[in-house]
Amino acid sequence: MELKRFGFIAAIIVVLFSVVVLIGSSQSSPLVIIGSMIATTIAVATPLTLGALSGLYCERAGVVNIGIEGMMLAAAFFGWLASIYMNSIFGWAALPSLIGGVFFAIFTGGLFALLHAVLSITFKVDQIIGGTVINILAIGVTGFLNRQMFFEKGSIFGGNVPHAPGTLPSLAKAIDSLCNGGCGGLVNSISGSVIDQKPIALLAILLVAFTHYVLFYTRWGLRTRAVGEHPRAADTVGINVQRMRYANVIIGGLMAGLGGAYFTLESVPSFEPLMTNGRGFIALAAMIFGNWTPFGAWAAALVFGASQAMQINLQIFRESIPPQLAILQISYIVGLTPYILTMLILTGIIGKTTPPAADGVPYEK
């Protein structure tokens, strides 16, 4: 990724951070604010990073996937549902239930991705319509089951939302419980700091590096990219184009599933209809802005994460907002930032991006 692009990303992040620091400096020290902003940014960028990685796997293999939003929503719901089942009905402890929920969320993502793969690759349905179908299906199914299972009198949980097993523990808490209280010093130094992140957030960062390695240094990555650039050429050297595409789309689904798990198992311990709130689409914008590279997409995801972190922190420092900037107090207006940022970035002001050459084109022999 060119210097210009990284420079632009750095500039936006600096601006976003500065706004918060300037406004909150009366209530808290700048260093503390910056630390908290970084921590929040990394956390909220998690679903965006995973969503962007999901899109990356699919599109590098030549399949456009705008159903990431739906995949994350469905994964969020079913992972949460699974963890509640394990906790309330099977009687497991909180942590195993949550981990089980994460696995089920990942599985759900893969399942929806399989549907997208079948539609796009085998039935050669227009891929954007296919993605829209996934989104609508996810909204319908999660809305229906959410009401059916938790709010109807005859439902399995008797019409109430049962106590959910909470959320995944952060690094400090995890070390603490592993040490049984014996690592007090280590726990204290980590707790509340930038690296005190929860598992999915940390996993997301690891997956970025892993994806970079896979895509550019392994045989799998070479073939995947070939299939996305010039499937016919890959076919003529004996590569099974459809199989590569199926595999990559499903892997993308697994990533999206992990991203969905973040919402209901790591961020907040409950499910709201439509809670993904466009994050799946913003993740796509991050992927495009990152020029279809893992680290580029991650950097772009951090920008969006920073804008969300700014939103959150401005609410915390509400009273310190000077009257001239009163508009910043209105969450609806500040909440526009990620969306406007996305549109701005997509106009290509920063420079043209090049998708894989065969992106979105079904392969026919």
């Binding site: 240094y217 392994t218 045989r219 070479l222 073939r223 990219r225 070939a226 650039e229 010039h230 016919r232 050429a233 890959a234 076919d235 003529t236 050297v237 004996g238 590569i239 099974n240 050459a357 022999k365």
Partner: protein, 508 residues
Amino acid sequence: MTETNIILEAKGITKNFPGVLANDNVNFDLRQGEIHALLGENGAGKTTLMNIIYGLYRPDSGEMRVDGKPVIIHSAKDSIALGIGMVHQHFMLIPVFTVAENIMLGDETVKRGVLDRKGVAAKVAALSHQYGLDVDSLALVGQLPVGLQQRVEIVKTLYRDAHILILDEPTAVLTPQEADDLFRIMRELAGRGVSIIFITHKLKEVLAVADRITVMRGGHVVNTVTPAETDEPRLASMMVGRQVILTVEKGASEPKEKALEVKDFKVNSQRGLETVHGISFDVRGGEILGIAGVQGNGQTELVEALTGLRPPTGGAVRFDGQEVTGSMPRAMTEIGLAHIPEDRQRHGLVLSYTVADNMVLCDYYHPPFGVRGIIQQTALDENARRLIQAYDVRTPSPYVPVSKLSGGNQQKVIVARELSRPVKLVIANQPTRGLDVGSIEYIHSVIVKMRDNGAAVLLVSAELDEIMALSDRIAVMYRGHIVAIVNVKEATREQIGLWMAGAQAASV
């Protein structure tokens, strides 16, 4: 060379596509160490047969043998394993990968979990040097000139120990000199035991380089002969099934005043690089100026800029004395331009529209087809009927989607549409590419007729024979410059070939 052991044999190959019998009980054999040409016009079934041998298609019936043993080839993997390699007409190379990555794709060597790029590069360097096909392993394929890309394709097959090599229309993108170079490489390979099948529709080539020639027509094999036993006219009539006149009936031209004047014209490519470097030429009414040159030397951008599809970056164009530099397509159409585009399915037609709608594609907005913003269906239908008859377009009805027509008839729709307007300037870009001989003859006659009616004709073609047959004057384009403009009577094929390859620019 003339050992008579048969290394590859195909018997009774039949392949059906929806609506087309591409291969009809075809028999074909290849001897060890020979260069065997497969000759036929577009649509004869040659590429289909080779795709079957290479494993990209499965035959409906028939069998194949390699080295005398029966084989079933399911996919390219199988044929590669049998030692068969294919260089396709449209290269199967990935532009954003390096030469080494393209060559190792599908057969990658991995060292400690990581692609062994260095090792492969070394092996490629050794191999290419061995055969005199030097290529730079670390270069990005997309940045290589076409001739070098073809070498990469050949090295790719040798890397996999191919001893049967199939070349599909390899000279389509080469200058005459590069083609000769390729033939030298082919003889070298054949001498080392590689058996070569070489698909083409060019008569001169098969007589120059082949040991045996198999002619296909309409999906079946007509005959297999040696060059000694035949000549161009006989081969041509085998290809087409009737007597073919190999030259175009053409009277002398009577050129009038200058119609199109181009001065210092500069155009950039899609990627922003200057591709036409300030060229100048003019075309008079009543004459055909042919622009010769291998594709990729700026012709596409030149034509796009003259017809309004691309803005020029410098220079001036005058038509009939009027300044028209950088005019939009509609403006050019209105002053009398007829543009027969290079890519008929991309620019010239809307495939999902009916023949009738395509016939008014450029004229729908003015009377009689469009009055006050409303489409006049009756006028449209009447126009379609008239043109279909006048230009003998073979179609079941005017309301059939034009995608259902053959390539030749699609081109006729475009020609009918463009030439049914009052036309002062015709720009025809690769007008007969991919067409059958009958359509080619027709289009040629139409172009000559327009010239005789006083129009200025700018003909751009990569087929040197076409240029020489039709043009009154010939301009040669090489790397965005015009390196020569001559009268057709004064130039020889060899001389033009040299100019096309960039050797000795004449004083223009």
